[in-house]
């Protein structure tokens, strides 16, 4: 069975976000927002979509007097990302080098 692009991960910024989550155990919402250079509302929508798909786990924890949101990639999310990247590599195989 060939890998195919995942429609949830495919959206701009979501792939970047999933790649970041895949490399770490957990990451702060604010750190992801800074890295992606998007507004809180835009990132919240992405997080909600990924969470509803079961790809991202969201955890809220109090830290130094304020509530922080921590994101981590779930096992299905990791598998979906691997499959998506495999499909991307297959697509790139057909792109000529510049």
């Amino acid at each position: 069975m060939s890998a195919s692009l995942d429609p949830v991960i495919h959206a701009p910024n979501r792939l970047q976000m999933c790649c970041m989550l895949a490399a770490v155990d957990t990451i702060d919402f604010a750190t992801v927002r800074e890295a992606l250079d998007v507004s809180e509302s835009v990132l919240s929508k992405h997080v909600k979509t990924l969470e509803e798909s079961g790809y991202v786990k969201v955890r809220k924890a109090a830290s130094e007097g304020r509530q922080r949101t921590w994101l981590s990639l779930s096992k299905p999310g990791r598998e979906a990302l691997r499959s998506h990247l495999a499909a991307l590599k297959a697509m790139m195989a057909g792109v000529p080098e510049i």
Partner: protein
């Protein structure tokens, strides 16, 4: 957007993600030496009276907790040390090295009465853990470049 443009766009996103992480996942400059000292202390304290050995464990635990907190505060993330990729090789090698040194030190101290063994081993472990931590960070950046450990 054509299929090729889409692929290039996604590839750029993957590279941007890795670059962002590589830039952020940097421990404070004192982090690895501090961790090294904590680990070295664990070996060195074997030469001390038992009461000091017992007292060191909560100090070690508190030290680790403070280090983890400082790392998370600075970087906004946490990375499991034994994550797949080159990082796992570095972490396992360091764990085996330090564990082996500590075991040898214990044998030298208790069986051979080499009184300076724990202190010397503690110093070696402190240096090894410091260097190992820096190597781990380099391995993490290399993993990000190659996409290993996903």
């Amino acid at each position: 957007m054509t299929r090729d443009e889409d692929a290039l766009r996604m590839l750029a996103e993957v590279e941007a993600a890795n670059a962002a992480l590589a830039e952020r996942a940097k421990a404070p400059v004192w982090y690895h030496p501090a961790l090294g000292l904590l680990m070295g202390g664990l070996a060195a304290v074997e030469a001390a009276p038992l009461i000091w050995q017992y007292a060191y464990f909560p100090v070690f635990g508190l030290g680790i907790w403070l280090l983890v907190r400082a790392y998370i505060r600075k970087t906004g993330l946490w990375i499991y040390g034994f994550r797949a990729g080159r990082t796992r090789i570095v972490a396992l090698s360091l764990a085996l090295l330090c564990g082996g040194l500590a075991a040898m030190s214990g044998w030298l101290f208790h069986a051979r009465r080499v009184v300076y063994a724990p202190l010397l081993t503690g110093a070696v472990i402190a240096v090894a853990a410091t260097v190992g931590g820096l190597l781990w960070e380099a391995a993490f950046r290399a993993d990000l470049r190659d996409g290993r450990g996903l």
